[in-house]
Amino acid sequence: MSTETNAAEVAQAATDAAHESAPGMPQLDFSTFSNQIFWLAVALVAIYLILSRVALPRIAAVLAERQGTITNDIAAAEALKAKAVEAENIYNKALADARAEAQRIAAETRAEIQVGLDEAIARADVEISAKAAESEKAIAEIKAGALDSIKIVATDTAAEVVAVLGGKSDAKAIAAAVADRMKG
């Protein structure tokens, strides 16, 4: 019995030793190749299925989604920027318009004032000339009045002088003489 056990143990030890000291590399132990290849195939198929069915489509979707989000955000930012530029342009245009309008109004007002001014000046001129004519007329009247008065005074004075000197005043001759003198 004991010898049998011993023999079995020795045999076991011998196979173990053979296994342990398998000459050189366990890599070249061809008896395990079919086992390795079978389980490698299982592992590879499993990894392939995991990757191609679940992981890769999911990661691709996530990456595409992120790319889309980034693209959208950039597009939105660009649109906002364009909007800002547009608003600035509109503002500038409004500013320029307002300025032009102001200038136009100023010019118009100036022209209006000028017209009024010219009118007033013309009216004043007319008035002035009218007044001047009136004055001239008045002066001429006064002048004429004065000449008549001088004539009468001169005639009277001449008649008086003649009378004082003892002559007989000839009214006609005096008037002619006065008129003659006044011409000169």
Partner: protein, 267 residues
Amino acid sequence: MGKIFFFAMVGLALISGVFFAPETAELAIHPMDQFIVQPLFGHGEISWYTPTNMTLWLLLAVAAVFALMVLGSSRRAIVPSRGQSIAELAYGFVYKMVEDVAGKDGVKFFPYIMTLFMFIVMSNALGLLPMSFATTSHIAVTAVLALLVFLTVTILGFVKNGTAFLGLFWVSSAPLALRPVLAIIELISYFVRPVSHSIRLGGNIMAGHAVLKVFAGFAGALGLFSFLPIFAITAVYALEVLVAFIQAYVFTILTCVYLKDALHPSH
């Protein structure tokens, strides 16, 4: 803070070297034992379906891919969380690689290439965990990956281009006399592709892990001076983290290059 932690670790290493030095300080280094494929439950023969330690770590790689790519992206956030960022980064990284190297019409192979990349990078990373099993250090695994790529690309090349695919071997820009010679060289290099493709990945991972185990063995044997190999392990581990990513990247970009050859076989 980091400095204090550093000196504390050095002190701990020294103390452990003094107190836990093995009684028999023999150099018992078995750097390749970590690669032995064993049944998960009990002993016995390994048949094709037996769950082994390799099975466990292959399925853990699947779980890791699931956790990163599916659970990480489950919230579908416009502003991603950390996990989702990494998933998106991996997606963008491989997608851009396929698009840049293989061209626009290579994009429909993106899920396959992504599968390769995620599997390799996750397996490499998981293999770096202490006590884990590096599935990509096994030539059976990398050879299957490389042969998958080789067969896919070759069949695709003939289906897409017919016999024009053979133009890949006929260097029309070379002088006529040289072309047959070049054709032979091109043919040989074409069939060496899967070999180099698989051994590059498997060899790198295996060598790195073996070196770590060798240094670990030294650390056990050196007693007081075990801090030297522990530093070395730290340095090599950092390198291995880099290698884990770079080898996944190299494998993937070479796949893209081969795919480009199949889609556009003109020199």
